[in-house]
């Protein structure tokens, strides 16, 4: 017992100050891309050809929902059109908002008043991995550790869909998970939320178009929050959840 107390004292208080202060991100972290098209010679196609996820189209229009944040486009672009910033805030409420034309990214809006009164103080989520690679799952799971302490925001992951207010889906929705995913959704009582985490769940990501997957959660269920990334940083996921609940 004493040893445990000593160990506790040595480990100290470890919960991040977020959202009061932003925790430090590594300098090589690739967050929101900043696209400056003044020097883009559209037609050069270098970024389009380098992109593994078909996230780019002519004139450096970038679909964040497909992007793996691999940085290949940034590396090949001769004019410095695409640069990845440290901005971790990426989640949107609508799929089309993730396609980055000239407007600034429209981050997710808070739920309406009624939903907020239902979910705002207590949101229970059931996580379903439907072909996810276990990185999105791991960085969702990490939110429940002492470092992030998701519980202090009233959000908790629960074991049964019957106890849940919504689903948090990862993976492109493999054919073999399609029916289990639908059944899990059906088992959640109304009103319910669906959150798609990661390029796979948002659009199919790298796996888009393969015959064994369904190109993302919104091909199967209505989605309320899109969290891009491969995988999204835990901070990106948390930011999305808190935005949805109107807490930031």
């Amino acid at each position: 017992m004493l040893k445990i107390l000593f160990a506790s004292a040595r480990q100290g208080y470890q919960t991040s100050a977020y959202p009061k202060a932003d925790p430090p991100l590594p300098d090589r972290f690739r967050g929101l891309p900043v696209i400056d098209r003044t020097h883009c010679t559209s037609g050069c196609r270098l970024c389009i050809d380098a992109c593994p996820a078909a996230a780019l189209s002519g004139g450096a229009v970038l679909d964040l929902g497909r992007c793996l944040f691999c940085g290949a486009c940034e590396r090949v672009c001769p004019s410095g059109t695409i640069k990845f910033s440290q901005d971790y805030r990426l989640s949107t409420g609508k799929r089309e908002h993730l396609v980055m034309g000239n407007e600034t990214l429209a981050l997710a809006a808070a739920l309406d008043k009624k939903s907020r009164s239902l979910f705002g103080r207590s949101l229970k989520l059931r996580q379903v991995s439907a072909g996810g690679c276990n990185a999105c799952e791991a960085d969702t799971n990490v939110l429940s550790t002492v470092g992030w302490d998701l519980g202090r925001f009233g959000i908790q992951f629960v074991a049964s869909p019957r106890h849940a207010d919504g689903l948090l889906i990862t993976g492109p929705v493999s054919n073999n998970m399609l029916s289990a995913l639908k059944k899990t959704y059906d088992a959640v009582a109304w009103p319910k939320l669906v959150i798609a985490v990661g390029a796979c769940a948002v659009s199919g990501g790298l796996y888009r178009g393969l015959p064994d997957v369904n190109n993302g959660a919104d091909q199967v269920l209505p989605v309320d929050l899109y969290v891009p990334g491969c995988p999204p940083h835990p901070l990106t996921i948390l930011d999305g959840l808190l935005r949805l609940l109107g807490k930031i």
């Binding site: 593994p52 691999c70 790298l206 393969l210 995988p231």
Partner: protein
């Protein structure tokens, strides 16, 4: 082992397809059985389409042609890999009855290529997908629908769990045959995470290939990336700079440290010992953040590329890494050693889910699960490649084969990984970190082994006459070990399943591909 039946190579070496011995199915069977009886083990056993002169079929479609079976055997003592091949026709005599470690491989061959291993005792789908072969009738199996093994008797009941489990975990189906609390048999039925990666790889390499490797099992991004790059470098005859090798080694061991720390915490959580669970959950994050310090991604995405690494580690960064590493080493010792000193934890860990050494050998287990049974089986030691040719990490083993042994092996490995990283940072060779890579050689086969944190990762790349992949075979360590978990559960309390499961902590997507 009759050496004339095999071609031999080292880890990360390419062989010409023409030079591979093509045996008759009967002598192929005899050769593999004999080698395994003499101590070799199956690293990979798979089918691939024969390329037809004139009819090139790189897209993974088998054309009309025959299926060539390829066996890659690991001879641990000799540090050599032995490759034998045969043409299978529509059926051949199964190896499994005499060689249990062939079981899942032959099920896979059957499912992918519709080649029948005659006499296979347990022939059922493994991932529930359509066969690869183009000339096969359109047959779509239904996930999870198979004839589960049943134990008879009026007092036996069946417990079905999954695919969707409690907690944030990937999907899979577990079917227990129980007598009261006691599990008589557990059958594990997977395939829910199948995304069709191997098929998508055929015809490559292309811009997507590297990213499939990074995400085929996201918690093993570095391990699988490294296995792929080693295979590509073998095919292209590329030498990787010592600095890149060191950085790759650091990334690989950081991945091991993060996952081992996470597993130790989760094991503590499964027996209700919350201090270690809480500390290790956070310490795991510290290791992931060290990987992010190197390359921006907590999982090592984009870190490793054919020919080298994409990010260098300048002096200041190395110093930062070193200081974080020392702190994490202290923190993990404080957190993990509590486990071994707490009787209530040890009472749950010891004698739970024991696998006998002989069983582990028969099943061909790999990684910490094998080393916990006393087997000296570690690709970093048996098949050293890259940095491990210059810097050795001692193999950590335990004897008991139970949950305790699997946990303790992880703890030993975690400490040794940290020592290794520290050494590497202090003695980082100077020089370039990236290199140009030539096109892969045509008509070749390269085998690449990496000791990932779960165990041996085996990649086999086979190119056609244009240097494109006619087949790219991936064997995640989980593919060897899932059956080990089923055996570990025999005669255990069903309530011990979460603990046993966590002590193996196998990959679903790495298995399902």
């Amino acid at each position: 082992m009759n050496t004339a039946d095999f071609s031999f190579c080292y880890n990360g070496q390419a062989l010409g397809l023409d030079g591979l011995p093509l045996l008759s199915p009967a002598s192929f069977r005899m050769a593999v059985l004999r080698a395994v009886a003499e101590g070799a083990r199956i690293s990979a056993l798979f089918g691939m389409p024969e390329e037809h002169p004139g009819v090139k079929a790189p897209g993974g479609a088998a054309g009309q042609g025959a299926i060539r079976l390829v066996a890659v055997l690991a001879c641990d003592a000799e540090a050599q890999l032995a490759v034998a091949t045969t043409l299978a026709g529509t059926s051949y005599e199964a190896l499994t009855p005499e060689c249990p470690q062939a079981c899942w491989f032959e099920r896979e061959i059957n499912e992918q290529w519709n080649v029948l291993p005659e006499g296979h005792p347990w022939l059922k789908p493994i991932r529930f997908h359509r066969p690869y072969a183009a000339n096969q009738p359109e047959h779509k199996p239904c996930i999870g629908v198979t004839d589960f093994f049943r134990v008879g008797g009026p007092e036996i009941h069946e417990v079905a769990v999954g695919p969707v489990h409690a907690g944030i975990i990937e999907p899979g189906h577990f079917r227990f045959q129980c007598h009261g609390e006691e599990v008589k048999h557990l059958e594990i039925s997977l395939g829910y995470q199948h995304r069709g990666i191997e098929q998508a790889l055929a015809g490559g390499p292309d811009t997507r290939t590297m990213h499939y490797m990074e995400t085929l099992a996201g918690d093993t991004t570095v391990g699988h990336s490294l296995a792929y790059c080693q295979a590509m470098e073998a095919l292209a005859g590329c030498r990787v700079s010592p600095r890149s090798l060191a950085l790759r080694g650091i990334a690989l061991e950081l991945e091991r440290a993060a996952n081992h720390a996470g597993d130790l915490g989760a094991l503590a959580g499964d027996v209700g010992f919350l201090p270690t669970a809480a500390y290790c959950g956070r310490i795991r994050g510290d290791f992931l953040n060290m990987t992010a310090l190197l390359c921006g991604s907590r999982f090592g995405r984009t870190m490793i590329r054919p020919g080298g690494v994409s990010f260098d580690c300048e002096e200041q960064r190395a110093a930062e890494l070193l200081s974080r590493l020392k702190k994490a080493a202290r923190d993990s010792a404080g957190a993990v050693n509590l486990l071994w000193e707490t009787p209530s934890v040890m009472a749950r860990f010891e004698n739970t889910g024991a696998v006998a050494r002989g069983t582990a050998e028969d099943l061909g287990l790999v990684g910490p699960a094998a080393r916990a049974c006393g087997l000296v089986r570690d690709a970093r030691y048996n098949f050293p490649s890259g940095i491990f040719r210059f810097a050795q990490i001692p193999v950590a083993t335990e004897a008991a084969g139970d949950v305790f042994a699997r946990a303790y092996v992880r703890w030993l490995e975690l400490q040794r990984s940290l020592e290794f990283i520290e050494n590497q940072i202090q003695r980082m060779p100077s020089g370039d970190s990236a290199a140009e890579l030539k096109a892969p050689a045509a008509d070749s086969l390269a085998v690449s082994l990496v000791e990932g944190w779960r165990g041996e990762i085996c990649h086999v790349a086979v190119t056609d006459s244009r240097g494109r992949f006619i087949r790219y075979k991936i064997v995640d360590p989980s593919f060897h070990n899932w059956f080990g978990l089923a055996i570990a559960m025999r005669n255990q309390q069903i309530s011990d399943f979460p603990l046993c499961n966590k002590s193996f902590n196998l990959s679903y997507c790495g298995h399902d591909l």
